[in-house]
Point group: C2
Chain length 248, copies 2
């Protein structure tokens, strides 16, 4: 119990530290950046928004933050008013954009995660470019990155990972993933501490079995060790260093 | 039972097929090669010796085979006379070389797998060079290669795999691994079929827990699917294509 209390008490500080480490090591933020936060309403992007806002003073790098939430005709569970209140309390302006993800499906095609994320990504980039943002911050964490690495490895026979920083060739924007060094458990602990968790929503479609299955297997492979997971991240990133520009 | 019978009845043919595939796809053997088989006395190198001998006519590539067994002061379990009889029945000459692996340990140093394999590899290369062999064939299979890949990934944070073909820079010899496409179960089935298994010996030190542990985890990760394991091999080999020359 004491351990759990200590862990939780330090959760926000751990998030701030590992976010800062990723930002410096990977060169994610530079002076004058205008960063658009992709705010899904979930715990990850909400913790990221809190962290980027909270780090503004300590980083001594001047940057501006705004958040874009994409609403769809597919998932209406998001507690938008709570989300916008939270974001605004951290000094982050909130915009809600409606995208008819299901309505855009071609006849006979079924809804799937790939279609939804591609639609949302396109709109996110379009909005960023049109509104003068040069960075888009996504809330993927260490476990997300490793899961995708293993799914690509086992299903496609490819060594490829989501890069922590992706400079688009076609668009004047760069994707960044400031939570890349953080495990999901650390993010959940921080979300509890910052009273974010109960406001967070999760797409029920996202709980698909393939990702849950690989998550369980990775836990076994790594004994859920953060050190092992960070080693795998390091190896996976060596790949995305050379391939990142070509992917996504 | 019928399935098991069928599988076993075809085991030798599967080994011949997948060996041939590896040889052609990876360019392992060319006309005039003098191949030294590293014959440990175990099931893997024995099956490899049988396969390379058995393929001599069908491959229509002229190559010579000889086997070198390295005896040590460490492990004396090998049924050498059975091994030499088997090899000679396949038309492969047999040489036994004694290397005092334990005797070479520096004072205070303990025996370990890395030391033993380095000593044996050095002697193998030396013997090959001195006796005019241009290839050394090692009996590592698909599961060995994937296990090493995951051990390097989890323990070192490195993407590196044993290459199927390794051209040494320092020595005029090339390492080849003709069993690289074969799963261990397929090799065991062939060893049973060819009456090799009961003659095979295994170093008891080799059953160390780290490799057994990763083997179990890989079985879970891949659902013991040969297709998934071959996809992982493909990805791992993309790494060794560029790094193989620097490693081993």
């Amino acid at each position: 119990m004491a351990d759990r209390f200590l862990r939780r008490a330090h959760a926000s500080e751990i998030v701030r530290k590992l976010c800062t480490k990723a930002i410096f090591e990977q060169g994610l933020i530079t002076n004058g950046d205008r960063i658009l936060i992709a705010a899904s309403g979930g715990k990850d992007s909400s913790v990221m928004a809190w962290a980027l806002s909270s780090l503004k003073n300590s980083l001594k790098t001047g940057y501006k933050l705004a958040a874009l939430h994409i609403s769809t005709d597919f998932c209406a569970c998001c507690k938008k008013s709570v989300l916008s209140e939270k974001l605004e309390s951290w000094g982050i302006s909130f915009t809600d954009l409606f995208v008819p993800v299901t309505g855009r499906l071609k006849p006979g095609k079924k809804m799937n995660c790939y279609w939804c994320s591609t639609q949302r990504r396109t709109e996110l980039i379009k909005y960023a470019v049109e509104n003068g943002f040069n960075k888009i911050a996504l809330g993927h964490h260490l476990d997300d990155i490793i899961e995708t690495f293993f799914m690509n490895l086992c299903a496609k026979g490819e060594l490829s990972a989501m890069p922590i920083k992706l400079v688009y060739r076609k668009f004047p924007v760069t994707l960044i993933r400031p939570l890349a060094y953080l495990e999901e458990t650390q993010i959940i602990a921080c979300a509890e501490e910052q009273d974010i968790l109960k406001a967070a929503c999760t797409c029920s479609y996202g709980a698909h079995s393939k990702r849950l299955d690989i998550r369980k297997k990775i836990a076994e492979l790594t004994n859920s060790s953060g050190a092992v997971k960070r080693r795998i991240l390091r190896a996976a990133l060596m790949q995305s260093d050379t391939k990142g520009l070509e992917k996504e």
